[in-house]
Amino acid sequence: MIAEKKYLQPASIQEALLMADRSENDFRFLAGGTDVMVNRWQGNETSSCLIDLSGIDELKQVTKQDNYLSIGSLVKLDELKYHSSIVSEFPALIEAADAVGSPLIRKSATLGGNILCENRCIYYNQSEWWRQAVGFCLKCEGNICIATGSKKNCYSEFVSDTAPALICMDALLEVVDKEGQRRIKLEEIFTGDGVRPRNLDKTAVIRSVLLPLHQEFRSVFNKLRQRQSLDFTSLTTAVSVDRNGKLKIVLGGVDPKPVVVEGTNRSDRKELIRLALKKSRAIDNEMFSRNYRREMIGVFLTRSFQRLLD
């Protein structure tokens, strides 16, 4: 009746890739599990094979490589603050990591897992019975978006808290797949399509996150949520300025992908906000309204600019 369930525990990346290859697409990599396990419970993630990466030690290192700090994708969110190089050069990452879920979640959840955290929508993150009762939506193989009535586009929200902080500090991903290892800009893995929000091959493993050293980033991180713990983001803003005055704005929670706007410390602030708003395709699919979240983009960014530039 039900496909045989498997739980595999590779000891190396190569072994993980091999296992993935043999699982014919009916598998899911598991890092901390705080996202995947909940999605499984809700019936939104049904792979019969789970490949647990948590035994792979090479994914848990924090090292300096060339001009980058390399943070293994399986470093737990709670552990980031114990690495002095992160604390001194990239404090916004600590702030972002501390904004994820609850202290308990952060003790299991990993950096890589949070970057790949599945997009959310109040009409999607529901039990199977619920979704069946309302009619399956685009994101769960139905043919309509419950939130907008659209037959084409899914606007499930990108909700990672750490990714906006990383992107605003020009993070790269070191990705390993069948083809080998490569580096890509973090923002490039996001498609903007709520159904398939990332373009990474399912069999790819993020080895590490690379943050450029000596850029002297100054960053401000903010998260809109109703409670001070547990809640997913309704709007994340991460803004940074590097030593050359390059300014980068990244928004989460207001679009199926992170919204990125670049400028300099001399750019017209209103124009930056206008651009950010223009790119944000927030819809009414969570507890805060679309209008309010959009309005808060302006408030959060203005405050961030004041802290960074005034």
């Binding site: 369930k5 705080t34 396990m37 202290p103 308990l104 299991s108 619920w130």
Partner: protein
């Protein structure tokens, strides 16, 4: 299946498990360690926290396979050799445990934290606990317990002493008598009960809000191996409901469904998985009907569409109209120089106790036995007999430990009837446990409400008139709704003296899960409106809102306009206390823009004077038995749901008999063994069961006095009971308790005595006079301090100062716990909680989207017990578990007005709404200036 080896609390286990099983499931179902609780299954509540290789993890979302060759510590492994860990001792001693369901997870999280953070600050403790939800305590005592474990000192000034210097027990801080059991994960909740050969039950629930059931095809499901019985509605046609006047519910939907989530079919099978799989195979053909979701739709004539209930009188969906008027409102308005009238809107909120409903039923030669998480075994007993057509003598209801109720486990529930029936039909025990989503669907929470209220005062500030027009959304069935309809109005007749008063409430049926009684039943939303109007009048009159309240308070020993008998009344003391503590006079209206103080007062019943089912039975009976060993057994039907009623009974008996608590044993809430008590609702238990226990103890004392007087040849008037001894004034006779018991039981054996409580006859003779009648009433006040971010509209509550008149605090530790929990729950309704629907489908049926405040969202709570010695309460005590909730919500809203001039008329308070109003008032202000 795979084999794993794990070491759990120092014991090796080699197990065969399903590869995708969670650690929580393995611990509970395969190893049988039920101390680890499952509250949400989605990593939100923290009840399932265990240590995996010394790190806390949420075992409900931790794959068990990952734990192979690992060491796990569960709550069962924290105490060593029977000795509690210091942290556990502190949890017990500080009153950090109420229902105890969150306790195991809370202890595991804290255990890791105290070990790694020997210098933690209070803020860091609050942060560390913010992934563990507690619904009972408001976190205050939990934070204290953790802090004292770290600092090793008493930081709160209480919890140390459990006996006063004069040997009295009443008025001393007593940890719950079952607290040690709860802190070690040994207390068995309904889902922890393990009967042999049990079948598991699962439900197929309606996915239509309002539809005719045309056909149910169970063929495929019945062919599934392991399925034992499939039940549909027609087998149980008898209607039930908690109130005799609204018996409108059946155990399963018959011929039509009235809300999404209503039970359409039930399957009993060998395993939970099979039962669930079978439910998916049942095919139901529905014919949709026009659904009604909003109050207004149901109030109006519905044309040719089908009504939700056939029995409704008119062509609409109005379930109940309640209206009462006193004095002359027109004249009252005529004499009102200042009037305030507003429209209010309240979203529904729900109890959100941490323990999901669960029950196990069994049928044998003694008839039916059901062990269930209920607040009211007695009404369930009656409902089961009625629906299952059994004599009352063939039904036994046993309450397990209950992980929180707050009104949400007080109705007889369909699942309780269904598993009972299935046990009868299959001859095997049948068990059910709800998912968190099913708990939310079952609801019975506070009614979504719309109201218009108007209050008038003369120039001197004497209230002249109050009028309220209320409509409440009852959902698909009656529940306590008729009472709720009245409570919305009648409980406004105090604490302020108002001669001209009237209200009208409509309760409507809608196609949503039913609403019922929730902490502060019926009166919370209207209290919010009332206190808001008072604040507005004070503003109009340029007078202090506390002064205006003080001016209008009723005295003690008086009658209200609707003939409630007010005896003790601590309104004034409560308000003065919080004014003083918050430095009201120096700070109100004197803080910078965005920062404010607000006040609210409250009033609630201390037990409904009338039983739900009219009969001549006492409302509470307590039996005491004492035998040769000197131990006093208390048997009582009262339900301890975490509020501490078992401890209260023991304290009262100990006090009367002058014996120590360890000579007392409480057996409660088993309808075979314990005498009838109407249960834990309407804040009645301390007053009624407490009085019954006191009478029983006094009767036992009389027996002992007469036997000892004869045996020792002393005057009966001269005997004293204290410190486990019975002695004459001059101590020429001075015997131990056990010696006295030897004398009493000689030639007679064990003695049993009884005590009872029957409320005095109260109230007027008009229709509706019975609503809200109580032998006593509680009063209270709250001052809240807030900061409002004027650019985002976000509100932060900085402080809550609360005072509540509970008559006499029998157990101050427990009273504080009730008050703090009430204020916390009220703050949740004010700030973040709401039951949201999408086309009749519950949108936020989990702890992520239904937002109970976490420890980080909870401000410092300053607790004050006000004692007024109620003339009829046991030792002067009255309620403290519900009434305290009322004033906190308007206090927060009024503080927002004080901070930014924005009047809150809609709950929960949303940042968006506040921001909108700040902006429009700025526009108005600017416009005014330009004029």
């Amino acid at each position: 299946m795979k084999s794993i080896k794990i070491k759990v609390s120092n014991r090796e286990h080699e197990l065969l498990i399903e590869e995708h099983e969670t650690l929580a499931h393995v611990l509970r179902e395969r190893i049988g360690l039920t101390g680890t609780k499952i509250g949400c299954e989605q990593g939100n509540c923290g009840a399932c926290t265990v240590l995996l290789n010394s790190e806390p993890v949420l075992s409900c979302i931790t794959p068990a396979m990952r734990c192979n060759k690992s060491e796990i510590t569960t709550i069962e492994g924290v105490a060593e050799n029977g000795e509690l860990h210091l942290l556990q001792k502190k949890f017990v001693e500080k009153g950090a445990i109420q229902c105890g369901f969150c306790t195991p997870g809370m202890v595991m999280t804290s255990l890791d934290f105290v070990k790694k953070n020997p210098n933690a600050s209070i803020d860091e403790i609050k942060d560390a606990l913010s992934g563990n939800l507690c619904r009972c305590t408001g976190y205050k005592k939990i934070i204290e317990a953790v802090a004292e474990t770290i600092y090793g000192e008493n930081i709160s000034g209480n919890g140390q002493e459990n006996k006063s210097s004069d040997g009295k027990v009443i008025g001393t801080n007593q940890p719950y008598i079952e607290a040690e059991k709860k802190v070690q994960g040994k207390a068995e909740y309904a889902d922890d009960i393990r009967l042999k050969n049990v079948l598991h039950c699962s439900f197929l629930r309606s996915s239509y809000p309002h539809a005719v059931i045309e056909h149910i095809d169970t063929t495929a499901a019945s062919e599934l191996e392991g399925v034992k019985y499939i039940l549909t509605g027609h087998e149980l046609p008898e209607k039930f409901g908690v109130l005799p006047i609204s018996q409108d519910e059946t155990a399963l939907a018959i011929d039509k469904v009235r809300y999404i989530g209503e039970v359409v079919a039930a399957v009993a099978a060998e395993t939970e998985e099979i039962a669930k799989a079978a439910c998916k195979l049942i095919k139901v053909k529905y014919k949709p009907l026009r659904p009604f979701f909003e109050i207004d739709e149901s109030l109006n004539d519905i044309g040719f569409d089908e009504k939700i209930h056939e029995h409704v009188k008119f062509n609409n969906n109005v379930h109940k109209k309640a209206e009462l008027r006193f004095g002359n409102q027109a004249e009252g308005f005529h004499h009102s120089s200042y009037r305030s009238k507003m429209n209010f809107e309240f979203d529904g909120v729900t109890h959100a106790f941490t323990e999901p409903h669960a029950a196990t039923a069994n049928w044998d030669e003694n008839g039916l036995t059901i062990i269930t998480a209920t607040q009211v075994p007695h009404y369930l007993h009656r409902a089961l007999a009625k629906v299952l057509k059994l004599p009352l003598s063939r039904v036994r209801v046993i309450k397990s430990y209950v992980g929180g109720g707050f009104g949400g486990k007080s109705d007889p529930f369909p699942h309780e009837i269904i598993v009972s029936y299935l046990a009868m039909k299959t001859g095997r025990p049948v068990k059910i446990r709800f998912s968190r989503e099913e708990v939310f669907i079952s609801n019975h929470g506070r009614h979504p409400t719309k109201m218009t209220m108007e209050l008038g005062t003369d120039t001197k500030g004497n209230f002249q008139v109050l009028d309220a027009d209320i409509s409440i959304d009852g959902g698909a069935y009656g529940s306590f709704g008729v009472v709720t309809s009245y409570y919305n109005g009648v409980l406004l007749q105090a604490p302020y003296k108002i001669e001209n008063f009237g209200f009208k409430t409509y309760r409507v049926y809608t196609n949503k899960p039913q609403c019922g009684a929730m902490r502060g039943h019926g009166a919370v939303n209207s209290r919010f409106a009332m206190e808001t109007l008072i604040d507005d009048l004070a503003h109009q009159m340029k007078t202090d809102p506390c002064e205006l309240r003080l001016k209008n308070f009723m005295p003690f020993n008086t009658l209200t306009v609707g003939q409630y008998r007010i005896t003790s009344n601590g309104s004034r003391e409560s308000l003065m206390k919080v004014m003083e503590q918050s430095q009201w006079e120096n700070r109100h209206g004197k803080l910078p823009f965005g920062h404010g103080l607000g006040v609210g007062c409250g009033f609630f019943i201390s037990g409904s004077a009338l039983p739900i089912i009219r009969n001549e039975l006492p409302q509470s009976v307590v039996h005491l038995k004492v035998d040769f060993d000197g131990r006093v057994l208390i048997t009582s039907g009262a339900s301890d749901i975490g509020q501490g009623s078992d401890t209260m009974l023991a304290m009262i008996v100990a006090e009367v008999l002058g014996i120590s608590m360890d000579k007392i044993f409480v057996l409660a809430a088993d309808t075979l063994l314990t005498p009838v008590d109407l249960g834990s609702y309407s804040s009645r238990v301390t007053f009624m069961a407490g009085n019954a226990a006191k009478m029983a103890a006094e009767n036992l004392k009389k027996e002992i006095i007469s036997a000892v007087a004869v045996g020792k040849k002393v005057s009966a008037d001269e005997l004293n009971f204290s410190d486990d001894r019975i002695f004459t004034n001059d101590k020429t006779t001075d015997i131990t308790w056990n010696e006295a018991i030897d004398i009493v039981t000689a030639n007679r054996g064990a003695i049993s005595v009884s005590g009872k409580y029957i409320s005095p006859k109260l109230g007027g003779d008009f229709k509706g006079a019975g609503a809200g009648l109580s032998p006593s009433y509680s009063f209270g006040a709250v001052v809240a301090e807030v900061k409002v971010d004027t650019e985002t509209g976000a509100v932060k509550v900085l402080n809550i100062w609360g005072a509540h008149d509970c008559g006499k605090a029998i157990n101050p530790l427990a009273v504080e716990g009730q008050l703090e929990g009430s204020w916390h729950m009220g703050m949740g309704q004010a700030m973040s909680e709401q039951v949201k629907y999408f086309n009749g489908l519950l949108l936020n049926s989990n702890f992520l989207d239904y937002k109970i405040p976490t420890s980080l969202d909870t401000p410092p709570i300053h607790t004050n017990i006000i004692e007024t010695a109620d003339p009829e309460g046991p030792f002067g005590a009255k309620e403290c578990g519900e009434g305290a909730l009322h004033p906190v919500i308007p206090a927060i809203a009024n503080a927002i007005f004080n901070a930014v001039g924005v009047r809150i008329t809609k709950l929960p308070i949303s940042a968006e709404d506040v921001l909108e109003k700040i902006k429009s008032s700025e526009i108005a202000y600017t416009a005014q200036e330009t004029l």
